[in-house]
Subunit: 304 residues, 2 copies
């Protein structure tokens, strides 16, 4: 299961009741944050989400509305007696931005590992696989695909048919390969067919590019920007490399995602809900997110 | 008149409903901000205070709870189409901290002038005189005394007695010196006695040192930290160079200030109001501030 909480839905500047776009991902006792604009830690505290345990932070790009909350968040972690190291991922330029973070928050007592991702780089945090993909914004920017793989069911009949000693069933089921007396036993000898895992895609800020459409293909959830809803802003969206709500809905529909969450609204958009009907006329499973938008995604939507 | 708004009352980390300590000062169409922790701009927006027009920002010290809101605030000013330069004041180390700010907020289109203050340095913003004084904290830290001078009344009898030509009265009243045909006319020839102006003192983070007691002498308003109220925290306050509420009240009483606002509460202090009675038993004119604490200070409390 993956638990997702959108800590804010604003773009550019925070507004009362609309913190900057940031996603908290929790699964199997682990936590990852994507983007960290000013106020992210306050949004977490408003939701009783402790800041102390975040394993990793992934940054999409180095506009301050996606990064300026880092000094305060790291300081809060320190004040909460965190001692474990943290890993921060981001595109090229991460080290330079983190130099700025360290000049503002000087007294961080735990280790911060910085990883600059190259095009298409993947990393894992425990059993969650995160893959970056390029977006098109006014500065270098990447999106993240998060995949929680699902192990196939144990197939007892297959294990028996393959003459696998009973004592190895447990370890093989867990994915281990075993060699004994020159015989090699592999997990596929006891496991059934591949099962669909969970895929969540986060992409902001960007134009609706192919790489995003590809990454989003059949995602259980796509979280992406809907900077503007007013068609008169279409040229501005193109110019500043942002995405219209309508473009995001078209992309989600064509990528056949299960659900779309729109976020990263322009501060000029006072009421994103006014565009709900037009969005749903394009793609019915569109959510006009608000701060605190939350879901628990489980495999096959309820199947054990 | 000086209008004062405490944008937050928290110390160390922001909490829901308690932004970090920062003071907005407004007078004669001018604005100055003292300290700018994470969330300062959000607090301003919650109070419909536009961020665009701030003339100057004064920083007390370089702990992130007093500075980490700068990248976002400057970015918000830029998005509000500010083009006028801004001046940022602070103790030695300001340039280095601002290097961090610039690494996080890279696209600030207006000029930022940085002024590192030496011990006791003064500066003016329009007709407000601001004087720094040293505090005692775990890192170099300064307080700020703000003084709005009051011009003496025009004294018609004095002007007549001094044989000042009527045509010069207006300019002399405004403080100009005039020379004509070898005769020098000075403002004191038409002005009455000096009148008490307004004095506001802001000091956090610090122990209750002499320099603060001196600066606070007869202030109309002293705004200072009350990090802890529980007497069991007295040793911790000394160790971390913070001030107990009770120490602040004693200092305010001895300095004979008109009013004391306590702020910069430890996140461990859930209800600062529980210490109101003990504070007022020491100094009756003590306010346990909350976010948004506001006053308009006028000369002689109402006199025209």
């Amino acid at each position: 299961m993956i638990e997702l909480t959108l800590l804010g839905t604003g773009g550019t500047v925070p507004l009362p009741g609309r913190y900057l776009t940031s996603l908290l991902v929790r699964w199997s006792g682990h936590e990852m944050l994507i983007d960290c604009g000013e106020g992210t830690q306050i949004s977490m505290k408003e939701r009783n989400l402790p800041v102390r345990h975040i394993d990793a932070i992934a940054i999409t790009h180095f506009h301050a509305d996606h990064t300026a909350g880092l000094p305060g968040l790291l300081l809060s972690m320190a004040k909460a007696d965190r001692t474990e190291p943290i890993v921060i991922y981001g595109p090229k330029g991460l080290h330079e931005m983190m130099e700025g973070v360290r000049l503002i928050a000087r007294y961080i007592p735990f280790e911060i590992e910085e990883v600059e991702l190259e095009k298409g780089d993947s990393f894992t945090v425990d059993n969650l696989q995160i893959t970056s993909f390029p977006l098109r914004h006014s500065v270098p920017c990447i999106g993240y695909t998060m995949e929680l793989k699902r192990t196939p069911r144990f197939d007892k009949e297959k294990a028996v048919a393959n003459h696998i000693p009973l004592k190895y069933w447990g370890r093989l089921q867990k994915g281990n390969t075993i060699e004994e007396d020159g015989v090699i036993y592999t997990p596929d000898q006891v496991l059934g067919e591949e099962r669909k895992g969970l895929k969540v895609v986060y992409a902001t800020d960007t134009r609706p590019v192919n790489a995003l459409a590809e990454a989003a293909k059949h995602a259980d959830l796509l979280i992406t920007e809907g900077m503007y809803g007013d068609e008169e802003k279409a040229d501005k969206a193109k110019l500043n490399r942002h995405m219209m709500m309508q473009e995001a809905c078209l992309l989600a529909r064509d990528a056949e995602v299960s659900q779309l969450w729109l976020t990263h609204y322009s501060p000029s958009m006072h009421d994103p809900f006014q565009y709900r009907d037009v969005c749903r006329s394009i793609f019915d499973h569109t959510v006009i997110s608000t701060d605190g938008q939350h879901t628990d995604l489980s495999y096959d939507h309820g199947e054990q």
